[in-house]
């Protein structure tokens, strides 16, 4: 047989196996980056592995978990901070985004330019913008207090005070992501059928009635998607808190993400950090499952 037929045979073979040939690289990379590391994370959470020591980690059963549930008070506070941040910022983004979408749902001159300017918070590097916000919120030299004084308001301590650090961080998160919720909801509004709105106007429904009885139910798929995406994202936020407050003052903004980082790379407590990581994973999974169940029930009637 000659050269070309063996080349042909190789081609035939790749054609038959194309399904595997094409998906194998992605599957292998994802397995290496997710499957084995997650297994390793769970395994490490049962050991006393330390980053600093070279000795082999020892299996210590559930000791890390009992420490986290019963001995470490900060775990519960940290869990609360994580949930507070995620739910607070998600609600803020959805409400503001909805308001903006309703406001911008019309045609006007300069629409494209204005919309592009609104996109800037999403594009800009979060670490750089967190740095900018931490400068703006500086109690001594920051400009925010100066602008507040224009409105006749007193000075705030922003991220330097245990009482205001969480609202300040949520504010930055809402500033960062509201343009995205706005854009998705606006796309949703533009895709709605017109008939129900015309019928409602004929029937003399008020604007509030139109919004609560027609717009909201019709937008439900979009709202659900955003709720899921933003909530899961909010539970994972690390950059902003790490740069702006670093978890302080007095651990008042130390979410689970920050606590895990500090335990692992600050205190070199890898075993304990892994146990915390498993908890965070579990919380995110639980919230997603609850959301999906909730949606199924709502849709079944």
């Amino acid at each position: 047989m000659n050269e070309s037929s063996s080349a042909q045979r190789i081609l035939d073979y790749t054609d038959r196996q194309i399904r595997w040939l094409f998906s194998l690289p992605a599957i292998v990379v994802m397995l290496c980056l997710f499957a084995y590391p997650l297994f390793r994370l769970i395994w490490t959470s049962f050991t006393n592995e330390l980053l600093s020591s070279s000795s082999e980690p020892v299996f210590i059963g559930l000791a890390n978990y009992s420490r986290l549930f019963f001995e470490d008070d900060h775990f519960w506070q940290s869990l609360w901070i994580t949930l507070y941040f995620a739910f607070g910022s998600t609600v803020g983004q959805l409400m503001l985004g909805m308001g903006l979408a309703l406001f911008l749902n019309r045609q006007f001159k300069g629409e494209a330019t204005f919309r592009m300017m609104l996109m800037f918070p999403i594009i800009a590097t979060p670490v750089a913008m967190s740095l900018v916000w931490s400068m703006l919120m500086n109690p001594m030299m920051g400009h925010l207090n100066y602008y507040l004084s224009w409105l006749g308001l007193g000075d705030a301590l922003w991220a330097s005070d245990t009482a205001t650090v969480m609202p300040s961080l949520i504010m930055v998160e809402v500033w960062h992501w509201t343009p995205m919720t706005m854009l998705v909801l606006l796309a949703g509004l533009k895709s709605l059928p017109r008939e129900p709105f015309e019928a409602a106007t004929v029937d003399g429904a008020s604007r509030v009635q139109v919004f609560t009885l027609i717009t909201l139910p019709l937008l439900q798929p979009y709202i659900f998607l955003l709720l899921l995406l933003r909530l899961v994202h909010g539970l994972k936020v690390f950059d902003k808190i790490f740069v702006i407050s670093g978890g302080g003052p007095n651990r008042a903004s130390e979410s689970l993400n920050i606590m895990i980082y500090d335990q692992a790379f600050g205190a070199t407590n890898f075993g304990y950090a892994s146990a915390l990581g498993v908890q965070l994973l579990f919380v995110i999974l639980l919230i997603s499952i609850i959301l999906f169940k909730f949606r199924q029930r709502k849709w079944s009637y």
């Binding site: 399904r19 998906s23 670490v127 740095l131 854009l183 998705v184 995406l229 692992a264 990581g277």
Partner: protein
């Protein structure tokens, strides 16, 4: 009649005033950072701000003289470009196969993978990467970026591949084109829009990612976001250089996205955000 016209005009004016206010709230940190980066050392942190002070480029010189800045800029660029290329080579064929075989469970798996918080993945990665010698290498950083790029790309490309009619491919097969050849020569050019969208959003995600290089990059491969964070610790309260560093860090990604803004909007409206 005249009154109605006047009312309309006032309503329009009110709309633009409110719109201007909204845009200002979202945009003013950017105005502030440009303004502050051009202030002299003594002026940058002044309250009330001196809006008419003479601008200076000293702060930018300060950042460039840091020395590390240029090498971090280089590292960021290399990691982003390598990630984008590797991602397309790995994800496009996979997305194509999933689109053609309609494997719904794959979508669910992809959504599920997106839920894992980066920090929990970083714990095992750190140990594994150290063991395999991937710590502080470009390869390691590219690999870490692929964790969000691959699911995101597959998710976004599915729609584009499903829009390519199977008849086009069948015609190519009948003409004796291999399946691999059909994919590269016929299908890929038809989903160009998707590729540009992925490149635009991917550039943004990879340029901006902080937590991966924070843990996985050492001195040799430090990227710009990590540089800015370190710069912040070194120059506390020195607002001028800090503002310049922040601005220089985000300028490349802002320019890149503005060039491709059509595709950026498309991708974000699709439900974007990791």
């Amino acid at each position: 009649m005249n009154r109605l016209l006047l009312q309309k005009r006032v309503a329009r004016l009110a709309f633009y005033v409110v719109l201007g206010g909204v845009v200002l709230i979202f945009f003013f940190p950017f105005l502030w950072v440009v303004f502050t980066s051009l202030q002299e050392a003594g002026n940058a942190g002044a309250v009330p701000p001196d809006f008419f002070a003479a601008p200076t480029l000293d702060n930018y010189r300060n950042v460039f003289e840091e020395g590390e800045f240029l090498s971090c800029l280089w590292n960021s660029t290399i990691v982003v470009l390598l990630t984008l290329v590797a991602n397309l080579v790995i994800s496009m064929p996979a997305a194509y196969i999933i689109a053609r075989n309609r494997q719904g469970w794959m979508m669910f798996l992809i959504l599920f993978l997106q839920m894992a918080p980066w920090i929990t993945l970083l714990l095992p990665w750190y140990i594994i990467f150290k063991k395999l010698g991937l710590y502080d290498t470009y390869f390691g950083l590219v690999l870490s970026n692929l964790t969000f790029m691959i699911p995101f790309t597959i998710w976004l490309m599915l729609g584009f591949f499903e829009d390519v009619p199977i008849e086009v491919e069948e015609a190519a097969w009948l003409d004796g084109c291999s399946r691999m050849g059909t994919f590269i020569r016929i299908v890929v050019p038809l989903v160009k829009g998707g590729i540009i969208t992925i490149t635009t959003l991917g550039f943004m995600f990879c340029w901006n990612i902080f937590i991966f290089p924070l843990v996985l990059a050492g001195y040799d491969t430090k990227t710009l976001p990590v540089f800015v964070f370190g710069f912040m610790a070194d120059n506390q309260l020195d607002f001028g250089p800090l503002a310049a560093a922040a601005l220089l860090t985000m300028l490349p990604v802002i320019i890149f996205v503005l060039i491709n803004q059509k595709y950026f909007k498309q991708g974000i409206a699709f439900g974007g955000g990791k």
